[in-house]
Every structure is written in C-alpha cells, then in structure tokens.
C-alpha cells in the first residue's frame, strides 16, 4: 500500500534551474522526501534503546546534532528541545523507523510522529554559503561559534528554520524549512544570492 513514487511532488519541485544559477559561489539544492520523525523522550533510560535502533547517540548538548550510520543507513538526529529530537533518515524509511522507535521508547514517556512532509530540506555549500545565510540569519556561523555538529532553530529571513552546520569552515549547511514557507525561502535565497553571481559587464 505505497503511493506511487512517480507522482510524488516535493515543495521545491521545479526550482533546480533557479538554484543552479547561484553556482559556483553557492551550491543550493533541495534534498526532498527524507524520512523525518519527531521523537519525544522524557525517560532517559530508553535513550540507549533508541541509539541502538538508529545507530547514533541522541545529542545531549542543546543546539547540536549527531550523525552516523546504523541499521537503517545514514541517520542524523537533531536536538530540538530538552526532550525533543528530529530524526532524519533516507527516503522511504519513515514507517519502518516510526514503529522501531515506538518500540524502543515504550508507550509511557515519549512520542514518535512522522513529520516527513512537514518540512523540506535544502543543502547549501560553496565558498559564499556562509555569506548567503548571513543576509538573513542572526546566528554567528563562524566556525569558532558554530562548529561542525551545530544545530539551531532560528529565523532565516522571516521563515523559521532548523539549521544544521555540517562544516562552517567549508561552508556546508543544511536548512530545514516548513513546506508552506519553502517557496518563500527559496525565492529569498535566490534573490540574496544574486550578489554572488559572477559579475557581468553591463551592455554598452
């Protein structure tokens, strides 16, 4: 009972060519259809079981994320709150992971919700990726302030985002944005990135 993958449509379907215009200063792409699950866990004794399912430790430090590869392939777990995490995994795994996680946490002190289509994922990289974000994000993304593994929930322009810092030095970031805000944010990023396109001579 799976829906036809061919008819799926991601929030930023059709934006690829506009994103490509930002290269090489910024490489911007949507990574659609990731499995995304909100995990709530107040019973810390269950953390180990969760880690086993995911193959990744839950991040303990606020505003960080952990990543690794486990039984379900590459997984990232972002800290969203003192008992709240966002699990990111490969497309198609949401149902499998939802039941595996539910089993791991038991049924009294936690929750699992499939939120795969709630947000879409953008990857930004390239020499000016950090500059591009600085136009609308008040977080200090200097490597000394936002080292690899930083995860912040904040505003980019006027949209709420979850920002994962893969490598601030190399300018590699992941931005998660709610689907309804995705086209606004995409338009904003493309507009902000206009600065960093190669200078073109004005026609004489």
């Amino acid at each position: 009972m799976t829906a036809d993958i061919a008819t799926r449509r991601s929030p930023l379907d059709g934006w690829t060519s506009r994103f490509t215009e930002l290269a090489p200063a910024v490489r911007l792409a949507e990574r659609p259809f990731l499995a995304q699950l909100t995990l709530r866990l107040t019973d810390t004794s269950r953390a180990a079981a969760v880690s086993r399912v995911l193959g990744v430790e839950l991040p303990e430090t606020p505003c960080t994320f952990s990543s690794g590869t486990g039984p379900h392939g590459p997984v990232e777990v972002a800290w969203l709150g003192p008992d709240e995490y966002l699990v990111l995994a490969q497309p198609g795994l949401q149902r499998t992971l939802e039941s595996a996680l539910r089993e791991a946490i038991g049924d009294t002190h936690g929750a699992v919700v499939d939120v795969s289509a709630q947000r879409t994922t953008l990857t930004l990289s390239g020499p000016r990726a950090r500059d591009l974000l600085a136009h609308g994000c008040a977080i200090d993304l200097h490597p000394s302030a936002s080292p690899i593994g930083t995860c912040v929930q904040t505003l980019l322009a006027q949209a709420g985002i979850i920002l994962l810092v893969r490598d601030a030095d190399a300018g590699e970031f992941v931005v998660l944005v709610r689907a309804s805000f995705a086209t606004y944010l995409a338009a904003w990023l493309v507009d902000a990135g206009m600065e960093y396109r190669e200078y073109r001579e004005q026609p004489v």
């Binding site: 009972m1 799976t2 829906a3 036809d4 008819t7 799926r8 449509r9 991601s10 929030p11 659609p32 259809f33 909100t38 709530r40 107040t42 049924d107 009294t108 002190h109 936690g110 929750a111 919700v113 499939d114 939120v115 795969s116 289509a117 709630q118 947000r119 500059d131 600085a134 136009h135 609308g136 994000c137 008040a138 200090d140 200097h142 000394s144 302030a145 322009a157 006027q158 949209a159 709610r178 689907a179 309804s180 805000f181 086209t183 606004y184 944010l185 338009a187 904003w188 507009d191 902000a192 206009m194 600065e195 396109r197 200078y199 073109r200 004005q202």
Partner: protein, 988 residues
C-alpha cells in the same frame, strides 16, 4: 559664473580624470575622488541653495556629515532627495540640484536593490581615523574578530584632511600600512562607505553601507546599492572623531562662511582652495593651522581674528611670517555680500576698535565637539568639559569605550595612543590577551599652545551690533528680525532661542521643539551645542549643571529603502502556500490572504465575476460534488497517556469520552471564557489525538497547548507536535461525493452505515494511503481526505478526474464561507472577536456540564457573562432579498437615519464656532450589534447575514435596521441555521 579654484598640486583626487556633472543646471567638471561639494568649490560655486524660511543664499559650510546647509536632490541616475553635497561622491553624469529644506520623492519605482547582512565580532570599531585604526589593529593583533566601519571612501579619518607626517612619512603611508595589515589578518572586516548610525544594548551596532552610489550610472544592478550591517560585537570602540563648532555672529550664514577644518580638508584632500581672500575667525589654535596652510598654498589670508586675548606665540609668529594680521581679543560682528561673502566686520571685545575686511571667504572655528552620539545612544552619561566647551563621555561602560577625538583628545599621537589602548582593553574584555603593540608614530603636527575659549555667540544686539547700524540681508526673501543663525537649516536664530527662554522654557528638549533647532537632517550636529550654550547663558546657568539632550539613533539619515532591504515585493512578507498551490494558479484561482497563507478564494470561469463564480461553486456543492483545498487548517498531533486529560482541560467539550475512530467538534476558550479557536478532535488511538485548528490560529493553539503543558501541568505525559504541512486536506463535498470517493477507494465501505458521520477511517484513495474523515463544514454529505503532502497533487487530480462525470467543481474560501454561514456555523475571528462566549454563539451544547473544570469554565459564571443583554449570534434577513448588508454594519432600532450625535463642522465653516451657535446634540443612537458575515445565497435564493446582536435570541422575528451609506436596510432577525434545519443532507 565659475572659476578654477583647483590648486595645481595636492589632494587625493585623480587629476587625469574628468567627471562631467550638472548642478542647478550648470555643466561642470570635477575629478575622481571629489565629493559634489569639493567639485563645486573647485569650480568656485559656493551657493548651493537658499534657506527654508527666509530664502537667504546658503553655501557649503562643512566637509562631512555635519553639513547643515548644502542639501541637494540628486536627479540622475535616480532621484534621491535630502543628500548633503559634502557626502555625495562625484561620478560622471551626476545631475543634482540644491534643495530648499524639503526633498521630493519620485513616483518612479526604485530599480536598485537593498539588503542587509549580519556580522559578528569580538570588537567593533567605529571610525577609521587615527584612533580607530590603532584600536582595530591592536584588537586584531590579539586575535580578536574585528569589524571596522568608516563612513568615508577610504580609511584615514581626520588625517585625510591634513598634510601631517607620521614617522617622517606622509600620514597616508601610516594609514596604508595599517589597512594592509588589517586586510591581511583573518577575521577582520573593514567596511568603507559605512556609517554606523545606531548603537544599542547587547553590542548591537547598525551601519549603513553605500556600496554603489559612487559608481553612478555604472553601478551594477545585481549588487545591492545599500546594505544595512547588523553588527553584533562583544565590545565597541567609538572612534568617531569630532565635529568643528561654528560661532554665531550677525549674518553668519552667507555663502563663503565655512568651518576652518573643512577648508583644510578641501585643501589637502581635494586640492581645492576655498577662496581667493580668506579671513579666519577662531577661539582656538586649530584654525591657525588652517590659516597657515592656506597661506602656504598661495591663498591670500589677510586676517585672523581670535576671540582670545592670548595669541599662541609660535602659531602667531608663523602667521605674522606669512603676512596674516592676527587680531587678538576680536570677534566678527557682521558680514556683507549678496550671494557670496564680500566683507567681514570685526570689532574688539572691548568695543573700542572696529574695522571691515574685504574677504570672499571666512573660516570659523569655535572649537570641536567630540562625536559622542553612539556613546550616548548606549546610555553612556556625558560630562561637560568646560575647557572644550563640549560634552565628552562621562563614565566607563562595561562594553563600550570612546577613543581619540570622540573622547576629547585632539592631537594625533594622543588619538593613536588612546585608540591602541581602547583596542587592547576591548580585546582583553572579550577574552584576548594583547598581541604585538601598535607603535605610536612621531607626529609633526603643530601642538596646541593656548587653551581654547568658549564662545557660542558674539555678544551684541541683533539690530545694532556695537552701535553700528545693522541691516539684515534684506534683498533676499523675507527679512528676519535677527540674522544670527544658530541652526542654519531651520533658519533659527539667537532671538528664537531667547524667545523660548523668555517664554519660560528652560529644558533644552523643550527649547529644541519650540525653535526646531536640531531637528533637521543634520540633527543639530553644528547647532545643538550652540543652542545649549545660549540657553544656559540666557538662564545664567552653567552648562556643566544642565542635562545634555540624549542622542538617539540614527546618527545620520538612513533611507527607508535601505531599512526595508529585500523585504519588499514578493519577499515583503512570507507567502505560505499549500502543496496544491501551483494547481490553483494554473486553474485561474483568485487568492485571498489568510494570515500569511494564500488561499484560493474562488475559481472564476471566463467572464465570471466573484459573485457569479461563488453562486456556481455553491450550487455544485449543494447539488453535485465539489472539492476545496483545506490544507491550511492547523493540525496538531497530541499523544501520551494523559492526552485525554489535557484535552478535557483545553476544550469546553468532554474529549476523554470520545471513542477511537470517532471525531468531535471542539471549542477552546481563554481563561476569561471567550472563544479563541474551534476545530475537530480525532481520536486515533487510546492515547493519541489529532486536533485541527483554524488556519489563522494554528501557531497560537500549539503555543497555547505548550504553555499549559510546560508551565501549569508539566506532570502530564503529553506531547504535542505540529503536522500542519505534513498533510494535504481535501474536503470532498456534496450529494455525489460518496460516489466519487467510492470510485477512488474501492477498499473503503463508504456507505452511511459503515462510515458514519463524525467517524474516520484509514484507507487508500487513488492508490495513496489516506485518512478519510466524515465531517462537514457545509451541511452536505462530505468526506475530508488527508494524505501525505507529497501526494496531495496526485490525490487532487485523481479526484478531479473521477468527479468529472458528476461535474466536480473546485471551490474556494468564499464559497466555503457561504455554505457554512447558511448552516449558521460561526468562524472564529470573523463572527467572534475575543468578546464572545460559546453561549453567545448558541453553543451551550458544546460546553460540558460534567467536567469539574476546564479553561474558561469559571468565567462563564461571572456576572458579566450571565447578563441577559449579551450579544448573541443570530441570522439577519434583509427585507429586500437583493440587498447585501455590509460586514461591520451597525444594527439599530430606529427606522430613520438619525442625525450624528455630534455636530460636524464643514471645512468651510469659520474656525472657533461661537458657543451660542452650537446645535444641541441628538442623544446617540443605540448600537445593538453588528453584521459579522454577509452573503448572497444560491440555495436560499436571497441575501442573508450573520450578526452579533444584544439579546439577539430574544429578538428573533423583530424588525431592525442596518445603515448602508445614507440608506437604511430593514432586516428581520432569525435563527442562525437557514438551510436544511433538520440536518438531513449531511448523510447524503
């Protein structure tokens, strides 16, 4: 009439360049590196404009942001008002005109781009003069992240306006070295053409960078013209320098009268001599240097008038050696000239000597005001320094320090020393240990010899200085009774100040407002302290005992376009769209804004207006089948063992008794008992629910749930998660909806028995896993189909295809509103306004009597909420079934439109109407309520409305009136449910 005032040598201009520009219709040529002001002066043009009140000719007085006079409007390449000639960098093709006070905005859309950028650092240094450069370099050498902002096109600050040597090299060599090292240091950002205009708490500094203005017509379109830098620093160093202060005297406003330091800047930075025959009037040593340097450059400097009795010996001797007559203990008492200065009247302070000197230019220096604006904005106390006649920073701030001239130091080596010290202290406070010290160079600048005197205004009577007949500048405009100007831009004089103090005003804030001094574009940079001094003198007080005015942002004017940045056009406010948005666009939907969402309002066909489209869409929903995009409804997943207990507290209804598989309508109230939202609650499992909220309140309701969970009942084991965008929600509505659904969901038994009203089932619709809910906001048989948003479009298109034989019709929010209003379903936020209880809405059935408590319950028993004359939701039927009542229209009992209770005066009636003529006012008409929703109904074949009406349910059947313009529409009060009162249609 122009002439060449460019000196053969000197200046930081490109002498090989030729920039053609037009000013006040005059074609002129300047050089790369000029400002508009320096280019005008190089052409011998002093007069820029005339003054706002008296129409007196006004020229260029300064060389920077403090310029009070030389306002211009740039016409080409793009119209921009209210710029100062002293801050506009010259470019080829510039067209500008002098401005009299007010600018003119253009009607043309601005093609330029604007943006903003955040910058984070340990130390922000404002000003790249000697102090700022030393501060930035010292901080950078300690390893701190540094941002250095400066409003000029190149670093150097005051050094750009001198020919000083540092360590036996021209000072620009020192500047170049420092800048080169800063450029080469990682994590140092040097921003030219960037004016810090605001300093706020938590190390927040706002700066405006003019990035492409100087390129004129060649400015690349893809680069943002202006950028607001949002700088967040741990420590702030304020090295903003100082502004020279003029002295007030009779006719001190003529073109040709200029600040002495500005003349030095024009000489050294732009290679311009400001006049052929230049007099100097000063209270301090600094203007001697201007006199000497101009004389050295070959300019005739006949006199230097010093208000002090003690002439600085060395500087005085240097003047004498160059043929400059120094008049100690003298002042300027007046001037002559039509559109340009011709003569200067001087007199001794003792009054026994007076003379007239022929001059085309008069340089004035009354001392220097440290630019303490940013320090004051940060809340730093200011202290009056009597020796300077100016305010200086008067306390230490934990995260900000001033250095150099901004702190009252005026010798270049002291400035560098102070800057280095401030940079070191700032870096240390930010956690960095000092690096290699910045060496303080040896300067050749002339040292101060004699202390400055403080003179705000030359003493004397406005109309008879020193007994001489005083004739104000009569030929131009209206004649002021005093021509001793304090604020040249506002045409405010000493007499104006004295009139204010004479009227009993003593606070400078009051005087400022009374006289408008300091309220122009320059915010009183040259006039503020003069006014303060004159007020203090008039009141016989000491400035040191008086409170200075507080400086507030912005320090310099900032275009609104820059503040708006890229938040305009399609990016003005986020536009939220559903997964089906592109389909709606492709099918000609008209949209309405609901919060930030774009929702399809209706889908007009060729030739249809909204009215026709809505009637057609309504008919389809009532007679055939229709569908809409309801994905914007808020959806909250609530799970945990105590979920039911929480929902029992949050909803007025009982939710714990809801069975798995069933759905209940619910109302939420605030603690005051007023309705805040409504929606459906679906019980998914014993401890898991899905809540829906109204589109506009989704975030509010989630916050509300979290607020109670986190702050009041943290013991409850409940977790709430927004899933609004995870789902696409499509209500399939109408008597044929069951057939359409059956076609697409063969596995689902859609019969009324198997799939009853207010139940839900999971199944597959069009091959897509779906949750189907039998709920109805239209009164018709309806199924709300929810699928993962990625598959929303596939679902929608499948429904359209499957419904085609039944004439399936997409409908928008307008039709949805009509359908629900026909059924008397209120919309929270339209039919309610935060003062409406569930009982007012006639929804006592949704308020549990069994629950011990829930939010709002206790308030229902408040006397106010039990009043019989509360406003109730009712229906209104206009007597004329074609009359559409205006939403918001008032409801009254009177069958004639009463006179307004307060007599309105026509704009032509004489002001100050005599009391005796006042008409006795009618008693006000009682407003009984207002129309909240009003539509034309296809099903009813007439118009109708919902309204909130005092004691409404007791008035059913009554005839009341709603004014529409000058007319009154008669209406009959009815029940809210006007269509299918038995509710037979929802089961199909």
């Amino acid at each position: 009439m122009t002439a060449d005032f460019r000196l053969p040598r000197g200046g930081r201009i490109d002498r090989d360049s030729a920039l053609r520009f037009t000013f006040n219709g005059l074609s002129l040529t300047g050089r790369q590196g000029d400002t508009l002001a320096s280019a005008l002066l190089a052409n011998g043009v002093h007069q820029v404009t005339t003054s706002i009140k008296y129409g007196r000719p006004r020229g260029i007085m300064a060389a920077g942001v403090e310029e009070p006079n030389a306002l211009v409007q740039v016409a080409e390449p793009f119209a921009e008002p209210m710029l100062t000639a002293t801050t506009v960098e010259l470019y080829d093709g510039l067209v500008a005109d002098g401005l009299v006070g007010h600018g003119r905005l253009t009607d043309e859309p601005d093609p330029a781009r604007y943006d903003s950028k955040h910058a984070h650092c340990d130390v922000v240094v404002v000003g790249a003069g000697p102090a700022g450069l030393a501060a930035a370099l010292t901080a950078a050498r300690s390893g701190a992240r540094v941002v250095l902002v400066d409003d000029q096109n190149e670093a150097g600050g005051s050094l750009l306006g001198t020919d000083d040597y540092l360590d036996d090299r021209p000072s620009d060599a020192w500047v170049r070295d420092v800048v080169a090292e800063l450029d080469a240091t990682p994590d140092v950002l040097l921003l030219n053409r960037t004016a810090a205009f605001g300093a706020y708490q938590d190390g927040f500094v706002l700066a405006l960078q003019r990035r492409t203005d100087h390129l004129g017509f060649d400015a690349p379109r893809h680069i943002a013209r202006h950028r607001i830098w949002r700088i967040r620093a741990k420590q702030t160093v304020i090295a903003t320098g100082a502004h020279e202060r003029p002295i007030v005297f009779g006719d001190n406003d003529r073109p040709g009268i200029m600040l002495a330091g500005a003349a030095r800047t024009y000489l050294h930075r732009y290679g311009v001599q400001v006049g052929r025959r230049v007099g100097v009037f000063t209270t301090n040593d600094s203007a001697y240097v201007a006199a000497i340097e101009l004389a050295e450059a070959g300019v005739d400097v006949p006199v230097l008038i010093d208000a002090r009795h003690d002439v600085p010996p060395k500087l005085g001797a240097e003047c004498a050696a160059r043929g400059i007559d120094v008049y100690a203990g003298h002042v300027v008492t007046g001037t002559e000239g039509r559109d340009h200065l011709t003569d200067v009247h001087i007199g001794s302070l003792t009054g026994w000597h007076a003379d007239t000197v022929v001059c085309d230019t008069l340089l004035v220096s009354g001392g220097w005001n440290p630019a303490v604006h940013l320090f004051s904005q940060l809340g730093g106390a200011l202290r009056y320094a009597p020796g300077l006649g100016a305010y200086v920073p008067g306390e230490r701030l934990p995260t900000a320090r001033a250095a150099g001239s901004a702190a009252g130091a005026f010798e270049v080596t002291t400035c560098i020393e102070q800057g280095a010290g401030a940079g070191r202290d700032a870096a240390r406070a930010a956690g960095f240990s000092p690096g290699v010290e910045v060496a303080v160079p040896v300067a050749d600048a002339r040292a101060e010899e004699t202390p400055s005197a403080v003179l705000w205004s030359v003493p004397g009577e406005p109309n008879g200085v020193f007994g001489a007949e005083y004739v104000p500048n009569a030929p131009f405009g209206s004649v002021p009774d005093d021509a001793r100007f304090v604020d040249l831009q506002r045409d405010a004089t000493v007499s104006d100040v004295l009139r204010a103090t004479g009227a009993g005003l003593s606070s400078l804030e009051h005087v400022k407002r009374y006289t408008t001094i300091g309220t122009a574009h320059d915010q009183g940079k040259t006039s503020g302290l003069l006014a303060a001094g004159i007020v203090a003198d008039a009141l016989g007080e000491d400035l040191a005992d008086r409170r200075p005015t507080t400086f507030r942002p912005p320090y310099t004017s900032v275009p609104f376009a820059a503040l708006g940045g890229r938040d305009r056009g399609e990016l003005y406010d986020p536009v939220r769209v559903t997964a089906l948005h592109d389909w709606h666009v492709a099918h000609g939907a008209e949209f309405e804004d609901v919060g930030q969402w774009k929702r399809s309002r209706h889908y007009p066909r060729q030739g249809e207006d909204m009215h026709a489209a809505v009637l057609r869409e309504c008919r389809a929903a009532r007679e055939g089948v229709a569908l809409m995009d309801a994905s914007t409804l808020g959806k909250i997943d609530v799970q945990g063992p105590d979920a039911a207990e929480l929902l029992d507290m949050l909803y007025t209804n009982m939710m714990s008794t809801l069975k798995v598989g069933r759905i209940r309508y619910g109302v939420m109230c605030g603690i005051d008992g007023m309705v805040i939202d409504d929606g459906t609650v679906i019980r998914l499992t014993e401890d898991r629910f899905l809540l829906t909220t109204t589109t506009g309140n989704a975030a509010m309701v989630l916050d509300w749930v979290e607020e109670w969970l986190q702050t009041e009942w943290p013991h409850l084991r409940v977790f709430a998660t927004s899933v609004t965008e995870h789902w696409v929600t499509v209500p399939l509505v109408g008597p044929r909806s069951r057939e359409v659904l059956a076609t697409l969901a063969p596995d689902l038994d859609v019969s009324n028995d198997a799939f009853g009203f207010m139940t839900w089932q999971d199944g597959t619709v069009a091959g897509i896993p779906a949750r189907v809910c039998r709920i109805s906001f239209s009164g018709e048989l309806a199924y709300e189909i929810n699928v993962n948003a990625w598959h929303g479009l596939a679902l929608w298109e499948a429904l359209i295809e499957a419904g085609e034989p039944y004439g399936i019709t997409p409908y928008g929010t307008e039709t949805m509103h009509v359908l629900r209003a026909e059924k008397g379903y209120p919309i929270v936020g339209q039919d309610t306004d935060g003062t409406v209880t569930p009982q007012d809405l006639g929804m006592s059935w949704a308020v549990s009597k069994k629950k011990a408590d829930f939010i709002g319950k206790r308030s229902f028993a408040r006397p106010e909420n039990l009043r019989p004359d509360r406003k109730h939701l009712v229906g209104l039927l206009p007597a004329d079934p074609t009359v559409l009542l205006p939403e918001g229209g008032q409801i009254i009992e009177s069958d004639h439109l009463p006179e307004p209770p307060v007599q309105c005066l026509s704009p032509h009636s004489p002001a100050g109407l005599n009391r005796a003529h006042r008409v006795v006012a009618q008693p006000p008409v009682r407003m009984l309520g207002h129309v909240t929703s009003s539509y034309d109904s296809a099903a009813l074949g007439r118009t109708f409305a919902l309204a909130v009406l005092r004691s409404g349910r007791e008035r059913i059947g009554e005839k009341l009136y709603v004014p529409i313009g000058d007319q009154l529409a008669a209406v009959t009060v009815t029940e809210t449910v006007l269509y299918d009162k038995e509710g037979a249609r929802r089961d199909g």
